[in-house]
């Protein structure tokens, strides 16, 4: 497994400390997010093997295992405000579902964002009768993911088909869980108010090479922050892989 990891993740990323702004070496960014299921099978095995190989990703937007992992995400976006808490992401009544069981993982995805008040968010995140979303990218305001430490939150988003969240800022436990599970890539915006300039359904692209977020429908571009401290952990493939890489724990049994 170590060999596979290194062949995909070459060159090894440099530590993207917060002071190295505004541009990280491109090599770093190209490794930061790998497509599902290819490297995610590896990533999943090292940290969260919720996907037995027979389960294929739902949305067509996931890249197939091929030459280089994509560093861009493209598709429709779903726009949210500030302080979207974990109860809105995945209401507590669904927490009886255990994320490490494949069928329950899928069910969790079907309830993603079912806690959003319909008066504020009339467009359903998941069409009734389906169990995954047509919005692979979330645009949000400040303090996304506040509230509970439940890992079900990023897991539900990932299971529903979300690839990346682009927010002004994150609550710390949600951010940490996103990185640890690899379910969604938590990206931060450089500036405030971007979510007010986007509408649910806009076609967008997230480009991690250039650190830009492009809203094609509105014809606007916004700057993203480099991943920062979390980079090496994501590069390694999650907390378990990182620990093995740095010698903290021995290779998996």
């Amino acid at each position: 497994m170590a060999t596979t990891l290194s062949s995909i993740q070459a060159p090894v990323s440099t530590i993207c400390a917060f002071s190295q702004r505004p541009h990280c070496p491109t090599g770093t960014q190209s490794l930061l997010f790998v497509s599902k299921p290819s490297n995610y099978v590896i990533f999943a095995k090292t940290s969260y093997s919720f996907k037995p190989s027979k389960i294929r990703p739902i949305t067509a937007l996931r890249a197939t295992p091929s030459s280089s992992p994509p560093t861009t995400f493209h598709g429709q976006c779903y726009v949210l405000g500030d302080n979207i808490d974990t109860d809105q992401i995945i209401p507590a009544e669904h927490l009886t579902l255990v994320p490490s069981k494949p069928d329950e993982y899928k069910k969790l995805g079907s309830f993603a964002f079912s806690g959003l008040p319909t008066s504020l968010y009339p467009i359903p995140f998941i069409q009734p009768g389906t169990d995954s979303t047509q919005y692979p990218i979330i645009i949000a305001g400040a303090n996304f993911g506040c509230g509970s430490s439940r890992e079900h939150a990023p897991v539900a988003l990932g299971a529903a088909g979300v690839r990346a969240v682009v927010a002004e800022s994150y609550a710390r436990i949600f951010f940490r869980n996103s990185v640890a599970t690899g379910e969604v890539y938590p990206i931060e915006l450089e500036h405030e108010g971007v979510n007010k300039q986007c509408t649910t359904g806009d076609i967008v692209t997230v480009d991690l090479d250039r650190n830009v977020f492009i809203n094609h429908t509105k014809g606007k571009e916004f700057v993203l922050k480099p991943i920062g401290d979390a980079g090496p952990v994501i590069d390694a493939g999650g907390i378990f892989a990182y620990a093995r890489k740095t010698g903290m724990i021995s290779s998996m049994v």
């Binding site: 530590i15 993207c16 400390a17 917060f18 002071s19 505004p22 090292t46 500030d82 302080n83 808490d85 109860d87 809105q88 209401p91 507590a92 009544e93 927490l95 009886t96 579902l97 255990v98 994320p99 490490s100 069981k101 329950e104 008040p117 319909t118 400040a142 303090n143 506040c146 509230g147 509970s148 430490s149 439940r150 890992e151 800022s169 609550a171 710390r172 436990i173 951010f175 940490r176 869980n177 990185v179 640890a180 599970t181 931060e188 500036h191 922050k225 480099p226 991943i227 920062g228 401290d229 979390a230 980079g231 907390i239 378990f240 990182y242 620990a243 903290m248 724990i249 998996m252 049994v253």
Partner: protein, 590 residues
């Protein structure tokens, strides 16, 4: 603010940021931003550019638009890149802003001019409402300046075998206790087995505490199955502390069952000063009341700890909250923490530690201190701490046989900010729907008609909380006007309700007073409806209604129905509101 000005004031920003070291080579999962918090405003407050004079005696600035006055806090906003870059080239021993002395020179702080609900949003603009006192020499010339550590830093240093460390460092920490419950336990166990192998053993069978508490008294099959999963694991691993429940129809016949994990951890002596406690629940920060580092983590991190007994943590900077003044008889710790969260907002303490000191804090008993630390996460905080003292040690007597070593912040410790409150001037507050920082005075909400009252959860379902509610009912002598649900946190609390006399009642117990007031019978101890739960959960909000609750969060749908409206309040306020049928200031009765 131009780059030039920014660089000129570099030493100021170092003081403000408390940066004293280069980025540590071992990174950690965290937001890349410097500390920041923001509040939705109705207009952008325009405050003058920070004064870079060395005169700290101009603490008040007024917004050009609304003339509102902002007082002497240090507010950090994310710095422009040039400052971040410049910050790293300063020697590792830049002097820190020594908060205590300077702010202490000011008169006691009046909350009426705090006005931190509205704050300037502007990104990439640094705003210090009070310029820090300058050292007599510029930081770059001082050479190696010894500075102390805060409590949180010391605990993490001790647990990572380091003699010294600083905020921002990423370190591997040895964990003293790992807690999980029925909601996150199964997922954690799944990850543990997948990563370490089907036959792997946990790192220490005595350091894991498994407490079913969330979805217990329900007919939901998956919920019941989840308790079975953690039981199987506890048996397989010979886990020493597993507070099992098998007979759901009668909690009393389950001798091991405790109830709400955070209260059980305290009552069973698992919280000890100086230690590191992690739990798969956001309110694990509750245990900080014992002077330990306690925070919530997800399943993956917990699975990691289960196998290794360690976790990679980033050292948070500490915000200090000095609470002085005699506690008015109508206030409780819940009012204090709601006041603070309303002050700094739900992201005010993101990635930071909150340290609570002062004469008021010292006067609080352990359960009140727990209430204070419990809601640290509602401000985004990583952990909360209260310095341990005689109150702490007395509480622990007879509860634990393990030795512990309390630590305290050094005199010269650096805090990233300091907030002072004159508690004697505070009034009962509530958090209106739908955010814990949507603070309002209880008396200003007296026209809000309510449909029910809920007294329970780790935040407001402890013995002291029920005693407080009973006091209000006793003082009134009348019956409640709305359904009033009582959910004791643990078996012990439940027993206290039926056995302990309420002071001033002539020997009546809480349960008797509650019955006379027409409240619902105290329910089986668990997390109950604090977070909604399965549909058949007792007191769950299944229709839109208005509820005053002693719980910890009021985001949309928190207690069940998305259109439900939850007013977070102290047990005094909750009981007073039950008596009138409206949100009510407890001074009506006390």
């Amino acid at each position: 603010m131009t780059c030039g000005t920014a660089l000129l004031s570099l030493s100021h920003w170092l003081l403000v940021l408390g940066i004293s070291s280069l980025p540590h080579p071992l990174p950690e999962i965290s937001s890349a931003r410097a500390s920041l918090f923001r509040v939705p405003t109705h207009h952008r407050h325009t405050l003058p550019s920070p004064s870079f004079s060395s005169n700290p005696s101009t603490p008040l600035h007024s917004c050009k638009n609304c003339k509102r006055i902002f007082s002497d806090y240090i507010i950090l906003y994310s710095l422009p890149p040039v400052l971040l870059m410049a910050a790293t080239i300063v020697p590792a021993h830049a002097a820190f802003f020594g908060a205590k002395k300077e702010i202490g020179a000011r008169a006691s702080f009046s909350p009426s001019i705090s006005a931190h609900r509205c704050r300037k949003h502007a990104l990439n603009k640094v705003l210090a409402v009070m310029s820090p006192t300058q050292p007599s020499r510029a930081p770059s010339t001082t050479g190696s300046v010894k500075h102390g550590m805060t409590m949180t830093e010391k605990i993490l240093a001790k647990s990572s075998d380091r003699s010294k460390l600083e905020p921002g460092e990423n370190i591997w920490v040895n964990i003293d206790v790992l807690m999980t419950h029925d909601v996150c336990g199964p997922g954690t166990i799944g990850i543990f087995k997948k990563e370490f192998g089907k036959n792997a053993k946990v790192w220490d069978r005595e350091k894991i505490v498994i407490i079913p508490d969330h979805y217990i008294f329900t007919s939901d099959e998956r919920a019941n199955r989840n308790v079975d999963i953690i039981r199987d694991f506890a048996l397989e691993q010979n886990i020493k502390y597993f507070y099992d429940i098998k007979d759901l129809s009668n909690f009393k016949v389950n001798p091991d069952y405790k109830g709400v994990c955070h209260v059980a951890l305290a009552q069973e002596g698992h919280c000890r000063p100086g230690e590191v406690l992690l739990g798969t629940d956001s309110h694990t920060c509750n245990a900080g009341a014992f002077g330990q580092f306690a925070t919530g983590i997800g399943n993956t991190d917990a699975g990691f700890v289960m196998g290794t007994g360690k976790l990679l943590l980033k050292v948070p900077p500490t915000m200090q909250f000095v609470l002085d003044g005699e506690m008015p008889h109508y206030l409780l710790a819940k009012d204090l923490i709601l006041q603070i969260i309303g002050e700094i907002t739900v992201a005010g303490a993101t990635y930071k530690s909150m340290e609570f000191v002062g004469s008021t804090v010292e006067s609080l008993n352990m359960e009140e201190r727990m209430t204070l630390c419990n809601m640290v996460v509602e401000a985004g905080g990583k952990n909360g701490v209260v310095p341990p003292d005689e109150t702490t040690f007395k509480y622990l007597e007879g509860k634990t046989s393990l030795n512990y070593e309390p630590v305290y912040s050094d005199e010269s410790a650096k805090f990233i900010s300091e907030y002072r409150f004159d508690v004697s001037k505070l009034e009962p507050v509530v958090a209106k729907p739908h955010s814990p920082d949507n603070r309002a005075l209880a008396r200003e909400c007296k026209d809000v008609k309510i449909d029910r009252v809920y007294i329970g959860s780790c935040t407001g379902g402890k013995t002291e909380d029920f005693m407080a509610a009973a006091k209000v009912f006793l003082a009134s002598g009348k019956k409640v006007k709305v359904p009033t649900f009582l959910v004791p946190a643990t078996q012990k609390v439940w027993m206290d309700l039926y056995s302990l006399p309420v002071p001033g009642s002539g020997g009546k117990t809480c349960s008797q007073i509650f019955e006379e007031a027409g409240c619902d019978t105290p329910a089986s101890p668990s997390c109950g409806a604090c977070l909604g739960g399965p549909r058949d959960t007792y007191a769950r909000m299944n229709e839109p209604m208005v509820c005053v609750s002693t719980t910890n969060r009021n985001f949309p749908g928190r207690m069940g129905h998305k259109e439900g409206q939850i007013y977070l309040a102290s047990p005094y306020t909750a009981a007073a509101s039950a008596l009138t049928g409206y949100v009510t200031d407890p001074r009506e009765f006390l």
